[in-house]
Symmetry: C2
Subunit: 444 residues, 2 copies
């Protein structure tokens, strides 16, 4: 029997845990679901005979280490900054580890130690990063294997509300961690464009967008996502003069979101004390140049260079930014207050479904011909627990876990899933769950 | 004999150490100057019979603790984030501590422990923060003692080049830590204006400036400095509807500096790898929307909405941002690269002097009359070691040290110098060094 430890039983673990439980008898697995909130862990395993819930205190190093030592494979669904605690224990006890997060520099530093311990630390194996790596590498290898030379690589992905429930003026609802959405773009982005290095400082992330459309799903836009340059080497696309990874939103979102950034409402660098003594209106006024609470709407329009009857301004108004309602928390950063406002307005209601959209756009030369191939994936949620986000984040990790426990993976050390041993079996099995890419090729 | 420990022997310690050495015989002091660089410490004490140089490793907690234990008073000139290490030792060994830095939350947390140990942790006792607190409190108490009610408080301070050496188009040279200048304004500012709370997010700090003039020294402008709200209570100016602390620069500086911010060149959040393979021109191009290296100047003008023959654009050009010269460092953040560029152009040359300018502007009601009182301080450097910055940062700390060692100060715990026991003797002695405020009162 193999013992699997899943740490973190939040919403995004639902599909992962479901898969592991569904395969536990056939594969002879025992699953431990550990969470600070034991009720949440119990709910996820729902009295399954092959599973145990465990109330973990992740900061108790003795408890954490002992828990890791008793399992064969660890899947960390913790917040990204906390994987490193578990990773250190995995080195000590020589255990394999899977995460869906970007490799931090601390994690990267464990590469040699993981190799020495003979273990695999598989990161970036969720949706984005994750399925994007798997599907991009399949396309890249196919093109390269027939002699094609990749000249441009663009990859876009976003978590959105399904079109049938897309009924608010922002065309956006929270389908995953709202804090991550509010803080999106708070780091500079780097990419390659026409052979030139490109940097976008955080203040401009939402002003430099790409427009694109996805067959059957309409128009989208994307803003640059972190550091695209780091993927040139692992993707073996040194021939490309354009390399860009972007986050997808419905058309117009970035322009409107940028108004909130310009006002300063996404600032997470300071705490407003006694915030419960001021109204949302006073909160917005504090960030808006000029004076006079009565003239706030006009001041906002002047500052953002908007007309009062413009769609852009009406979207701000729709959020309730100008109401006299008092803020409901005493100490909070502007970003936290904005999040509270948005969580009321951008709520995914009971019965509403989310949607994942991913699209790769690759240009290549083959002989004297230039071609573009697009590959698109759209996944809708099944219900409010088995969301498209939970499915596409959780399934690649779950399938990878099965591959690792069945000794199908040769890689060791700190890796991301770019090798064929990952993408071939994982993409094949994802198809059986309806996670299927549609390819379209055009000769240019 | 009393033993004083000065940790940090950089440029800003020169006047402080000079004062301590000059008073050592009369006061029966022994001065230890500790620095990681023993040569720098030795140079500062220059074989003085009452002083010792000590090569401290500040991260060696045993060595640091032992060193603190052997002294009666500690003056920390370390970078602001490192005071806390020394402060913990000062609690252990019950030693008084002086710094010129803003009170961090970690430092504030030591208040009760410092009271319990019966020691004084005097912070913000340099120039700004420091002399501004001392001189503002003297004015505030004088107004309040005659029955005046303060309605507006503004305080401005800046370290500049003396007018006779102000010969570059930016009207600015580095007269203190260049990194602090490049990273200035990378946090939101908070203040009170006409009874309304005001926040400025970091992206807009240099766009919302105040204009002011200082008698005999011409026009200046200021940008908001950190959190002015925290001083309302210690200054006892709860009656004021406007409370603003600002950093002074020559007129036009902020607008031009903001162009560098908009481009993204002050970004300190990511490292450019293999930076030595690109030129300054390519560095700037990477941040500028649009493509084509040959069109860079036009792209910058388009993005910043400048004309090519405008003063603003010529100032960017004057910095050398568009040269093909290669960057001289391999790994650096954009802010570090910008700093390297500026250090060549904004160098205070041998024989050139710096200048400190401070001005308070206080409005108050007395009976039915409204008055404004302005108090200005201008200090020029004596030479390139005894700069105005070193003098105005070091002397208040040195004089405070003398007062503490002579048992003239009753305060204990983590404090800033707002009480009369600080400002009266320190301002009086500063006058003997030519650090003198000129007051001017207008009835409004």
């Amino acid at each position: 029997m193999k013992n699997i430890l899943v740490i973190g039983a939040g919403l995004s673990s639902s599909y992962l845990i479901k898969y592991l439980l569904d395969h536990s008898s056939a594969e002879n697995w025992h699953i431990t679901v550990a969470d600070a909130d034991i009720l949440q862990a119990q709910q996820k395993i729902n009295n399954h005979p092959c599973a145990t819930a465990f109330p973990i205190n992740i900061n108790d190093s003795f408890e954490r280490s002992e828990c890791v030592s008793k399992h064969d494979l660890i899947i960390s669904m913790l917040p990204a900054t906390m994987h490193i605690l578990v990773a250190a224990d995995c080195i000590t006890h020589k255990k394999n580890l899977i995460t869906a997060s970007y490799i931090s520099s601390e994690m990267q530093h464990l590469h040699a130690a993981a190799i020495k311990a003979g273990v695999l630390f598989l990161n970036e194996c969720g949706l984005d990063p994750g399925i994007d790596h798997l599907s991009a590498m399949k396309m890249i290898h196919e093109i390269q294997n027939k002699g094609g030379v990749i000249t441009s690589f663009k990859s876009f992905c976003g978590g959105l509300v399904a079109p049938e429930f897309d009924d608010n003026p922002w065309n956006y609802k929270f389908t995953w961690n709202p804090r991550n959405v509010v803080l999106a773009g708070q780091a500079a982005a780097k990419y390659l464009e026409n052979g030139e290095l490109k940097f976008i400082p955080q203040s401009r992330i939402f002003t430099q967008t790409e427009q694109l459309s996805v067959d059957g799903y309409g128009d989208f836009e994307s803003y640059a996502n972190r550091d695209s340059l780091t993927y040139i080497k692992p993707y073996t696309i040194e021939s490309a003069h354009t390399v860009l990874r972007g986050t997808l939103r419905r058309k117009g979102y970035s322009k409107n979101w940028n108004n909130l950034i310009k006002l300063g409402l996404t600032d997470d660098s300071f705490t407003i004390h006694d915030a419960d003594k001021i109204s949302y209106r006073e909160f917005v006024s504090a960030f808006t140049p000029g004076k006079g609470m009565d003239e706030l709407e006009q001041r906002v329009c002047d500052f953002l260079e908007l007309k009062k009857n413009s769609e852009e301004f009406l979207k701000l108004q729709w959020l309730g930014l100008f109401t006299d309602e008092k803020i409901k928390v005493r100490e909070a950063t502007p970003a936290q207050i904005l999040q509270m406002i948005l969580q009321q307005k951008w709520k995914l209601n009971k019965g509403e479904l989310d949607m994942i959209v991913m699209q790769h756009e690759i240009n290549y030369e083959l002989g004297s011909k230039n071609s573009e191939v697009k590959s698109a994936l759209v996944v809708k949620g099944e219900n409010e627990v088995l969301t498209a986000m939970a499915k596409t984040v959780g399934l690649p990790m779950a399938i990878a876990a099965k591959l690792i426990l069945n000794d199908k993976i040769k890689a060791r050390g700190v890796v991301i899933p770019v090798a064929k041993e990952f993408y071939e079996p994982i993409l094949n099995e994802l198809e059986t769950f309806g996670v299927t890419f549609i390819e379209k090729k055009d000769q240019l």
